[in-house]
Each structure stands twice: as structure tokens, then as C-alpha cells.
């Protein structure tokens, strides 16, 4: 198991994550869900050392895992201005000489000769994903990868995630759309009140889904729609 232990992050003296723990099987696709602002992206950033954290470490069989073993696809994708997609992808050949941008692009068929700034949100997401995969790191954090993708690309992305898991990569995915997560993940963790509120195995997904619906129903009970 890859263990993410006691992640605590606070902004302006307020805890966004408080001793958040997560156990993920090596080579698994693990879902992470939670409300907006529950701290999913903060957890990813803290694990990647992109923000300061109070505590938290990643280990596998008692060996500390460095942040540089993680590739992180963020929700909003940032690119260098005036760069062409092909130029962006070609850069990844420096650390991964086997990476062939044109071969990988057969999946998404992006216009690689165009400037990235002319890309739509979905196209930028796909391009960023190709870059993250090209880094060839053992752990992948995918933050809202299904956002802005069309139906066909959603299916391709699911296929791609499963393919990476088959190659032995450990993948943690967040999404506000539950269906793709239920389709690809072997386990889903629920982040609530700054901590891990529960882990649900594949067989328990229907229970998890019901629990969410009940919670949503409860919140509707207090609202007067008249």
C-alpha cells in the first residue's frame, strides 16, 4: 500500500486538511471525492510539495516516496504563451526519449501545429494530460480530468487511465462527475470535514452513491422552494 499519512494544511489559521490519511494499493485507480472546497486539490498540491504543509508524508513499505515520483494534472491547465502543441510535447523527449507525441496524439487527434492559446478547454486538458503521461512517473494525480471533455474523449480518457494502471502506475483521480469514477476506480475515498470520511470498495459503490443521495436529500429538506 502507498500510504499518504497525516496531511495537514492550513490557510490563514484555518485547517483545510487535518490529519488526512489515504491508503492506496500500488497500481490501483483510486477515486477521491468531496464537496467543492473540501481540500482535494490542496491535498494533491501538498503531496507534490507545491504548497507548504503542517505535516504529511508519503511512503511505500516504510520507504519515503519523494514528490518527484508524482505527476500532477491540475484542474486548470497552464501553458507557456505562444507555444505550439507539438513544441510543448517535444520537450518531454528530454526525460522520456521513448515518448512519441504524434503516436500518442492518435488517441485525441489534437492539431499539434496550432498555438495552444487557440485550443479549447477540453483540448488543453487533453494536451496537458499527454504531457503528464509523458513524464512517465509512477504515481499520477489527476484533478478533475473529465472536466470539459466530450463524451468520446471521456471514454478515451477512461481507457487511458486503465491502461496506465495496467502498466503499474498508481492513479488517484478526483471528479465531481461520479459515473466515470465508479467505472474506473477500484476504491473511492470520501473527503469531508478536512479528513477522510470513509473508503468504499468496488462492491460498496452503490452504498456510497445512496449515502450521497441521502445527504443531498437532507440538505434539500431545509430549503423552502416556494
Amino acid at each position: 500500500m502507498i500510504q499518504f499519512e497525516n496531511f495537514s494544511v492550513q490557510f490563514s489559521n484555518k485547517f483545510v486538511l487535518n490529519n488526512f490519511c489515504l491508503n492506496v494499493r500500488k497500481g490501483a485507480i483510486h477515486g477521491l471525492v468531496g464537496m467543492n472546497g473540501s481540500g482535494k486539490s490542496t491535498f494533491f498540491k501538498a503531496a507534490c510539495d507545491l504548497i507548504n504543509k503542517e505535516s504529511g508524508k508519503i511512503s511505500f513499505q516504510n520507504q519515503i516516496i519523494d514528490a518527484n515520483e508524482i505527476a500532477f494534472l491540475e484542474t486548470e491547465n497552464y501553458f507557456y504563451p505562444k507555444i505550439k502543441a507539438i513544441e510543448y510535447l517535444e520537450l518531454f523527449k528530454l526525460t522520456n526519449s521513448k515518448f512519441d507525441p504524434k503516436e500518442w496524439n492518435k488517441l485525441f487527434e489534437l492539431p499539434l501545429q496550432q498555438l495552444v492559446e487557440n485550443y479549447s478547454t477540453g483540448m488543453r486538458k487533453k494536451l496537458a494530460l499527454l504531457g503528464v503521461l509523458a513524464l512517465n512517473r509512477s504515481i499520477l494525480f489527476l484533478d478533475e480530468p473529465f472536466n470539459g471533455l466530450d463524451l468520446e474523449s471521456n471514454e478515451k480518457l477512461k481507457f487511458l487511465i486503465e491502461l496506465q494502471a495496467k502498466k503499474g502506475k498508481t492513479i488517484i483521480v478526483t471528479s465531481h462527475i461520479l459515473d466515470p469514477l465508479l467505472a474506473v476506480c477500484e476504491k473511492i475515498s470520501y473527503l469531508n470535514n478536512q479528513t477522510n470520511a470513509g473508503d468504499f470498495e468496488k462492491g460498496e459503490f452503490s452504498t456510497f452513491s445512496e449515502m450521497l443521495k441521502t445527504n443531498i436529500g437532507k440538505s434539500f429538506d431545509n430549503i423552502n422552494f416556494d
Binding site: F72, I83, Y88, L91, L94, G131, V132, A134, L135
Partner: protein
């Protein structure tokens, strides 16, 4: 026909006219200033090489590999026409012949057909030096205007130095945009290797661009050669310092314009004898800082 339409489409007819007019003007200025016939050959070859380096039509060339030689030759002849015309006008037939021979040889260098198959050394703007490549892509009109002004003012030393300083700042401003962290992660496996690679990738284009200039100085202005070498070394130092500054302050999406002021301060210190050790100390200080900062990403 397909090649002609592709070529026009890629360059744009107006841009070709503009480039031709500019080259005629610049070569005329160089002729008046230097009175050196060899300079025409040098400029012609430089242009032919610059076309070769800027090629972006690998698929087209791969499909028409049997035509690559005439395609390149026609293109080089079109763009070097002003130099050929000038040397014919002045009846320097031997120099016209040399230019034609050189132009005929250059397409042979394109035999690998695709730029990516060419060694890095022969491509002055490799993708890895993306700051320069994209910087020149966006700033080329300003650079041409500055070049024109500097050729006008070449006999007015203070103005010439001023324009050169602005051009240098423009070049260094290419480094103030922070790239996505994935690009940093793709460059190297550790921070020191990253800084080393980044500096080398950025210096290769500079060395290729400025070395012919330094050689010309050695031939035509031997007494000022030491001065040229000092400027050359300063440029190398400043490029290296700029890269270190960039990564000492790097944050994804952060505007790093502030580092230009650090650089200007350092450049000023270079010219004040008592302060000469300061830039070196600052270099080491920011090198450590860049090293620490990069460890967060690599």
C-alpha cells in the same frame, strides 16, 4: 505549384515583400558602411541558413523528398536575390559566383530532410530553448525595427550603444515568463542538471548567432576585437545569470519581470571596477537559491 502555394501560405506574400525590401536596405547599408564585398556573401549565407533552421514543413518534405534540392535552391535564391543583385550591379562577378556556389551547397546540408533528425548544434533555435524561440517569434517586428534604427545610427556611438542595450534587454525579457511545472520536470532529473542543461540550450543559439559576428570583428576590426570578446563574455554571463535568477524566483504562472531589474543592476556592477566581484558573488548566491527552489519541482 503545390510547393509555391505552400511556400506563399507559410511565409505570406506581404511578408516576403517586406523581407526582400528589408534585406535590400540592410545589405545596402552594410555595403556603404563596410565597403566589403565579402559581407554580401556572409549575409546571403546567413539568410539561407536561417531559412533552413526555420523550416516547419517536415511532412511536405518527406512526401517530396526527391524534390528537396530544387525546392531549397529556389527558396534560397529568392531570398538571397538582393545580395546577388547587388553584386551583379557592382559587377563583382567572382563574388556572385561564390554566392551561387554556396547557395548550391547549402541545400545538401538538408539531406536529413527533417529538422528533428539534425544535430542540435545545427539548429540554433531548438525546441528546448523555447524562451528564445517563442521570444523571437513574438518580438521579431520590434527586433527588426531596432536593427533598422541601429543601422541608421551606426555612426552615432552613444545612440548605437543605447539601441544595443535595448535589444539586449528585449532579449533578456524572453526569460521573464514562467513555464508550466511539467516543462521543468521534463528537463532534468535534478536541479543542478536542470540549470546546466538550461544554460547550455540557451547558449547554443547565442553562440551560433554571435560567433560569425565575432569572427568578422577579428577580420575587419582587429583592434576592437578585445572589446567584442568582452561584450561576448558579458552576454554569456548575463544569460547564465538570467536563467539562475528566473529559477531562483520561479513559481508557476508568476510574472518574473522583477528579475530584469536585478540583471540591470548586475550589468551596471560589471562596469564599475570595485564592484566586479559582486556579480560573481550574486551568481553563486542565486545559484544556490535556484537550486533550492527547483528541488520543489524536480
Amino acid at each position: 505549384m503545390a510547393q509555391a502555394s505552400r511556400y506563399l501560405n507559410e511565409l505570406g506574400f506581404v511578408r516576403i515583400l517586406f523581407v526582400l525590401t528589408l534585406f535590400i536596405f540592410v545589405s545596402w547599408r552594410y555595403y556603404l558602411l563596410l565597403q566589403e564585398k565579402e559581407m554580401l556573401i556572409f549575409l546571403g549565407v546567413l539568410i539561407a541558413f536561417s531559412i533552413q533552421f526555420a523550416r516547419n514543413d517536415k511532412t511536405f518534405l518527406a512526401k517530396n523528398s526527391f524534390l528537396y534540392y530544387p525546392i531549397f535552391l529556389v527558396e534560397y535564391l529568392v531570398l538571397c536575390f538582393p545580395f546577388l543583385a547587388l553584386s551583379l550591379y557592382f559587377q563583382w562577378f567572382a563574388y556572385t559566383l561564390i554566392q551561387l556556389i554556396v547557395l548550391a551547397i547549402i541545400p545538401i546540408l538538408n539531406k536529413p530532410k527533417t529538422i528533428s533528425e539534425m544535430p542540435v548544434l545545427f539548429n540554433p533555435f531548438p525546441t528546448k530553448a523555447f524562451e528564445l524561440k517563442i521570444g523571437f517569434r513574438t518580438a521579431w517586428p520590434i527586433l527588426i525595427v531596432l536593427l533598422l534604427i541601429s543601422s541608421f545610427l551606426s555612426k552615432n556611438i552613444p545612440a548605437y550603444v543605447g539601441i544595443s542595450f535595448i535589444m539586449m534587454l528585449l532579449y533578456f525579457s524572453f526569460f521573464v515568463i514562467a513555464e508550466p511545472k511539467e516543462i521543468i520536470q521534463s528537463f532534468a532529473k535534478n536541479s543542478r542538471q536542470f540549470i546546466f542543461r538550461k544554460t547550455i540550450f540557451s547558449l547554443i543559439p547565442l553562440l551560433i548567432i554571435f560567433t560569425p559576428g565575432a569572427i568578422c570583428f577579428l577580420i575587419y576590426e582587429p583592434e576592437a576585437f578585445i572589446m567584442a570578446i568582452l561584450v561576448y563574455l558579458l552576454l554569456i554571463f548575463c544569460t547564465s545569470f538570467m536563467i539562475i535568477l528566473k529559477y531562483a524566483f520561479y513559481e508557476e504562472q508568476k510574472d518574473l519581470s522583477i528579475i530584469l531589474f536585478y540583471l540591470i543592476g548586475t550589468m551596471v556592477a560589471v562596469f564599475i571596477p570595485y564592484l566586479i566581484p559582486l556579480p560573481l558573488l550574486l551568481w553563486f548566491f542565486y545559484f544556490q537559491k535556484a537550486n533550492q527552489n527547483l528541488k520543489r519541482f524536480i
